[in-house]
């Protein structure tokens, strides 16, 4: 009986070991771009807005937080969300959470995302929020943005601007009327109500940043 127990224990340890090594083996070993995780404090930035002014988070004295959205002119997914981004700004700016849009693409690699084209796009779509160019591409790697559109919800605290949500705007890029989960709105509503945010990270297809 005792032998059986020992044998059982040995088998169990072996199986656990095998399961563990399989698990790690199946995992990807490549290091994906680093950046902020939920709970991290964001380093402020100063970037040029389409109106020529320089914009930092510190400029928004009364804000309770920020919806920082990496987006651009040329990506079909970014375009699919433009109207929804405008709607988010309309809904939450007055509640203290303005949209700050940042184009992370290098205009040399993507002429359609040049500063002049950003100005054109913002005008034709009627953007109501800052649309900043990440000149020199220093800010998006700090955030760990990998695609457009890519959203970071920040909450202003005494200790700085803290990341509360990272990911997609909602769960259906194709059709705003078919959306079942409004990830960003849920996160902002919970944040402003002082409640725990249920879904803090989501994934979505987007255009790689160039």
């Amino acid at each position: 009986m005792r032998k059986l127990k020992i044998l059982g224990a040995v088998v169990l340890v072996f199986l656990l070991g095998a399961a563990f090594s399989m698990g790690t083996h199946a995992r990807n070993t490549h290091i994906v771009a680093k950046g902020y995780a939920v709970g991290d404090v964001v380093v402020d930035f100063t970037l040029k807005n389409i109106d020529g002014s320089m914009v930092s988070l510190a400029d928004f004295a009364t804000a309770k937080g920020f919806l920082v959205i990496f987006t651009c002119n040329t990506c079909p997914y970014a375009q699919a969300y433009e109207d929804r981004i405008i709607a988010l700004d309309a809904k939450y700016k007055s509640k203290g959470v303005p949209v700050i849009a940042i184009n992370p693409n290098n205009p040399d690699a993507k002429p359609g995302d040049s500063f002049a084209k950003m100005q054109e796009r913002a005008k034709s779509k009627g953007f109501t929020f800052p649309y900043l160019l990440d000149e020199g591409q220093k800010v998006y790697p700090q955030f760990g943005a990998t695609r457009t559109p890519h959203v970071f919800l920040l909450q202003k605290t005494d200790g700085g601007n803290v990341v509360r949500y990272i990911g997609a705007i909602d769960d259906n890029y194709q059709d705003a009327s078919q959306v079942e989960e409004k990830f960003v709105e849920n996160a902002i509503d919970a944040m402003l109500a002082g409640k725990e945010i249920e879904v803090t990270t989501t994934k979505a297809i987007g255009c790689g940043i160039k």
Binding site: A19, G23, N28, H30, H150, Y173, E181, T202, K203, C207
Partner: protein, 184 residues
Amino acid sequence: MNRLLVFVLLLIVLVSCKQKQEGDEVKTDTMESEQVPDNVMVAADVNFPIYDFDGLEPLLHREDDHTYIINFWATWCKPCLEELPYFEQVLEEQKNNKVKIILVSLDMPHMWKSNLEPYVAKKGIKSEVVILDDPKQNDWIPKVSEEWGGAIPATLIYNKDKREFYEKGFTYEELNAELNKFIN
């Protein structure tokens, strides 16, 4: 050794099913759906099979003796188009090494006729092309790889023993170097 792996896998599956289950009858559902490859939507006049993720998923988990390169791309994604010729070249060069390539297009429905079909025809693409049309991206992206944030180009290389995921574009040399880890 293989039997042991299968056994351990089964064990893991059983354990995770049990965890999910929690008094619910989920188990039989998930078991069944894993085996069903044929819920392909046939759009009247598009040249490529159109899948939702449940339809696509079996293509990411074949257990034969081939190595599969699954590339996620779209005609609007410039770096995707830049690496496509390398996949085509590798397909030609690795004919005898049991390498299969599936190009999973994430083009939006209104682009299928206007962009995707003409592009594939114009370039004479020989790799298998399929369309993934499933807006619930937050649900299916992690099922391709937990590491994938959702940017494209992205590529999965796998065979029955090994799988690696790459959220990046390849040069011809990089693609070959990675593929060599699977076929040698």
